[in-house]
């Protein structure tokens, strides 16, 4: 197990390397330079060149990359082209907002999706099942930017009970979290329903019944444990996805998070910020995946054995 974990942690190194190269190259290939973006269309070519030279953008790509990575490995992620501040100093204060929104969104999608999925599976074929499955299908199909705007229209403008913009109180988080959590909960509910129904057809359920176990015991002791394995993996992956996906919610509700920082930096060709944020997100993603594997190993003896042997 320890060996497996060490191997997994070592794998993070080449992965982060690949992510950094890809991000660096893609940003350099896109048209425009930081000087153009920062100084606007009225700037002269000399002014632009001088700006690019001052931030070191006029050097060849490999040189810039090596320079950047040398700094990054020592914990220095460079200075923003446009904000005259350390990338770390700009990004770190923004991360808690993004993390909070993503974490709450996953929490609520699980708290909402799992019970609904279980209920639908237990009441398969009844009005409860058809009703919840239909509602889940609708929510899973709604694009989140539209859902965000509709929620804002209803709760901020019509009813006036929740703020539409900004940050500060818990009320500011309700709409962004709902925007991300509702489609995710719908997806979780559908998945839980399917895995539960699948587990119900397994032979071990019949064995438990023949043993004299009650239907409740079969559901909550025998079936849920097996049905939750794929669901947990999925929740972890959607948490990682929501970290990046928060861009939309942060943009719609004017939250000063990672997402809006990345978006602004891309527009400004502010390579150090985009790179810093991308590396940080991909690193977080890999840590989440690692934790997921641990949880999975805890729940699933077969998986535990397979990594022990490997």
């Amino acid at each position: 197990m320890l060996k497996y974990m060490i191997k997994r942690i070592l794998f993070i190194i080449p992965s982060v390397f690949i992510v950094s190269v890809l991000t660096f190259v893609v940003l350099s290939l896109s048209p425009g330079t930081p000087g153009q973006a920062a100084l606007g269309i009225n700037a002269t070519q000399e002014q632009i060149d001088a700006f690019n030279h001052s931030v070191g953008y006029d050097r060849p790509l490999p040189e810039r990359y090596i320079d950047y990575m040398a700094g990054a490995l020592q914990g220095d992620f460079g200075e923003s082209y446009t904000q005259h501040n350390d990338v770390a100093a700009i990004l770190i204060p923004k991360f808690p907002t993004t993390l909070t929104v993503a974490f709450l969104a996953v929490l609520f999608s699980a708290a909402l999706g799992i019970p609904i999925g279980v209920l639908a599976a237990l009441k398969k074929g009844t009005a409860v099942d058809v009703g919840t499955t239909t509602i889940a299908l609708v929510f899973a199909s709604i694009p989140s930017f539209w859902l965000g705007l509709m929620l804002m229209l209803l709760f901020s403008l019509q009813l006036g009970i929740l703020p539409s913009h900004g940050i500060g109180t818990w009320k500011n988080l309700v709409l962004p979290v709902a925007t991300l959590a509702l489609p995710s909960a719908a997806y979780v509910a559908r998945m839980v329903r399917i895995t539960m129904l699948d587990e119900f057809n397994q032979d071990y359920v019949r064995t438990a019944r023949a043993k004299g176990a009650s239907e409740n015991r079969i559901v909550f002791i025998h079936v849920i444990r097996n049905a939750m394995m794929p669901v947990l993996t999925n929740l972890g992956m959607s948490f990682a996805g929501l970290l990046g996906g928060a861009i939309i919610a942060e943009q719609v509700f004017g939250l000063p998070g990672f997402g809006s920082a990345i978006l602004n930096a891309i527009n400004m060709k502010d390579t150090p910020i985009v790179l810093g944020a991308t590396l940080f997100l991909s690193f977080t993603y890999m840590i989440i995946m690692l934790v997921l594997d641990l949880v999975n190993a805890l729940l699933n003896p077969k998986f535990r054995d397979s990594i022990e042997k490997a």
Binding site: D203, Y204, T207, A208, A210, A213, H222, P301, D305
Partner: protein, 327 residues
Amino acid sequence: MADENLLVIDGLRDVLKLKNGEAAYPVDGVSFTVPRSKTVGLVGESGCGKSMTARTVMRILDKGISVAEGHITFDGEDLLALPEPQMRDIRGNRIAMIFQEPMTALNPSISVGKQVREAILLHEKVSRAEAKERVIQMFREVGIPEADRRYKSYPHQLSGGLRQRICIAMGMICNPDLLIADEPTTALDVTVEAQILELMKRLQRESGMSILIITHNLGVVADICDEVNVMYAGQIVEHATKAEIFNRPLHPYTIGLMDAIPRVNGDMEHDLHTIPGTVPALGNFPEGCRFCTRCPFADERCRTQAPALEDAGDGHLVRCFKPQEVR
């Protein structure tokens, strides 16, 4: 109250509601008994209704299937009339069941020891530690090596034979009066099969329980049974003691099954005998005798009238118009 028969099934008829609103009867008027401390075989091809008959006794039928007629009496009690909580007290406690697929019959994410222990904790008021001791003791009894260590094993870590021993331990742990074994050895190697049958016989000698064994294998019948019921298309077509059925098989279907057993000293010139055709589909049984489409002796009467299960002497029952002509 000491009835000679532990289990009496009388005129049992299971109904399956089909999608088109029609009803089919996968178990159609089955009657037989299981005497105390005896082993009774229920024999037939796949789909003849033998497993469903057993599951009806346990009342663990799939959704959509229910009992239309008949009675099941267990130790003087009408099982079909029992409320579900009382039935749960009987399941796994006084009537235990083991299944064909030891590979999938156990929960993959709970240790085998805990799964067997659950049966005790469901039915008896004992401490967990005490229950665990009993499980380990039962593991030893059913021939599981290193029983202490195996308690913590998960199903995927064990061989098929060991898993079936675990299932048998689970069935035996509450000292049942009746053990229903649904093809317990079908998924196992022949050598393991012999060991498992031997184990069941030994446990029966020691505990005095009755066994209802479901199988398509007459070799298993010859090994373990006292009495045999042959089922075809939802009905019993022949019933006799083991000696009777092997010495004087009367129904053409039973004879077909026997000819289908490979013999070491048999006639090597000829191919293995098979019964032509397959079991007719549910709800699509022929008029008259249900076996008439596959029977080499069928005539006009067989195709139009349904024969009844009749005594051919000494309690040997057969559902056939011309059992004497056979052979």
